[in-house]
Symmetry: C2
Subunit: 290 residues, 2 copies
């Protein structure tokens, strides 16, 4: 197990334990069970990025709440994205999606409450962030998640499915920056933001990583199986949608992802060997099988 | 026009102008149009409560962003509540609901982005709140909106529709405190929270007001028409659902609402005549025709 694997697992365990405490603090209900289901079983890459960037900036002890916050936010986006009116998926992380296991109303509400929970975790003073750090993280998260970030990217992604002309590579890249890039950048810069340090090197890393992540997703959509991936495959090709693979070909997409890993790792130069684990994370993102 | 009418209109106009600026700052899209549609045409009662409580605590100049935030949050809840999987409503504020005017995906995403926008407005330092005040407001909003507040109330409300035994009066009252009460309390206490003052008198006012508001809603569901109300009527009775009216009868519900207005106004005693407008607001909530 490399340092990255160990750290990823450690972050995921800490986040899962924290979520468990949160669900236990609430009266049992379908809503809470659905929120627990939605936050379980993921890789926890975004939470790991929060932990790792916090470690690099000497604020590791403040990472847990924002790490849970980004995982809650990400889980909300998946629950809503899987709804029949959106991507209409039955399978997520190898499990039935929330609206399949419960119903659509529960999925809508669980997603909504997960978004609220993300902001609650950041802003609760008992989680140790100063008001200034919490305010900056919450503002950044709201922007990354909302009408100029993730939700805009999702809306553009839906529009792309029925676009008369397939999207150009530049358009796909811009769409990705909103849809997945903004939350990844928030995660990877969180440590610098908490510490009040310059987030620029981590932002450069995150932009390359986010794009590599999306390219890897497009590759897996073509090359993997639902059993391995834990969700449906072949959806984009089936929909005749422009992707990094449709534009660059499989080999071209792989080469582009490799280039981006280099860029990501070079962005981390100011941190020296301290950032090896984040560099490994970038390699993992492209090499992953699910 | 009473002082209350004038202040309600003034707050609504300031909020509408601020929203207009926000939509103009974004590239035009269905998403942004849907968000604009969802925030238009409401009474703006929650935003007014923020303004008025801020005025009472000498921080009127800081009210606009939190007032817009609560109206954005409220609008999100209506958009999602109207979805086919939830209340399945075609009409809201006399206009087609977002999923009827656009589609379900746009309604889900517009609601999601409106929730993010609420936190963005509170946490953006250019809106003038101190980090401490912003953090407290954002934390309070997240709690009022989420799994222990509004969303829980909505989930309980849906469960009540298929409950084998109709809810008791105590259960309806508890459900209401989450579903509509929590956001009303947030709004009415916002000024005290911003100023760092004791929110207890305003919280007492808000709890009585929120309950009176829900009772009035139940009364209007029975006595009004879709033309006057701007949304469907007779839904609860049609669904055989327990309401304040089904428990207390129409006259009993009216009497209970009147009692609550008295309680609400008495809670404002520490403010003296300064609070007359909030007291008028409570009377309006029960006397309103839509």
């Amino acid at each position: 197990m490399t340092g990255f694997d160990a750290q990823l697992r450690r972050a995921a365990q800490a986040i899962a334990a924290q979520f468990e405490q949160i669900w236990q603090s609430q009266p049992r209900s379908d809503l809470i069970d659905a929120m627990a289901h939605a936050t379980a079983g993921g890789k926890g890459l975004r939470g790991f990025l929060v932990h790792e960037s916090a470690r690099l900036h000497g604020v590791a002890d403040l990472a847990l709440a924002p790490a849970c916050a980004i995982e809650a936010l990400h889980a909300y986006s998946l629950v809503h994205d899987d709804l029949p009116a959106m991507d209409d998926d039955d399978l997520r992380r190898g499990q039935p999606t929330v609206h399949r296991k419960w119903d659509e109303a529960t999925a809508i509400l669980a997603g909504d409450a997960l978004q609220s929970l993300a902001f609650e975790l950041i802003c609760d003073p008992k989680n140790g962030l100063t008001p200034t750090a919490a305010g900056r993280l919450a503002l950044g998260l709201a922007r990354a998640a909302g009408m100029a970030g993730m939700v805009r990217g999702q809306a553009e992604d839906i529009a792309a499915e029925t676009a008369p002309v397939p999207l150009s590579l530049a358009q796909i890249t811009a769409l990705q920056r909103g849809k997945t890039g903004a939350l990844i950048e928030w995660s990877a810069t969180a440590g610098a933001v908490i510490a009040g340090d310059d987030p620029a090197p981590l932002a450069g890393y995150a932009r390359a990583l986010g794009l590599a992540f999306q390219i890897a997703d497009d590759i897996l959509d073509v090359t993997s199986t639902p059993e391995t991936l834990g969700k449906a495959t072949g959806k984009d090709a089936g929909a005749g949608k422009a992707t990094f693979v449709s534009h660059l070909g499989l080999e071209g997409a792989r080469a582009r992802a490799q280039d981006l890993i280099e860029t990501a790792c070079e962005s981390l130069a100011p941190y020296g060997r301290q950032a090896d684990i984040l560099c490994d994370a970038a390699r993992f993102v492209v090499a992953r099988q699910h």
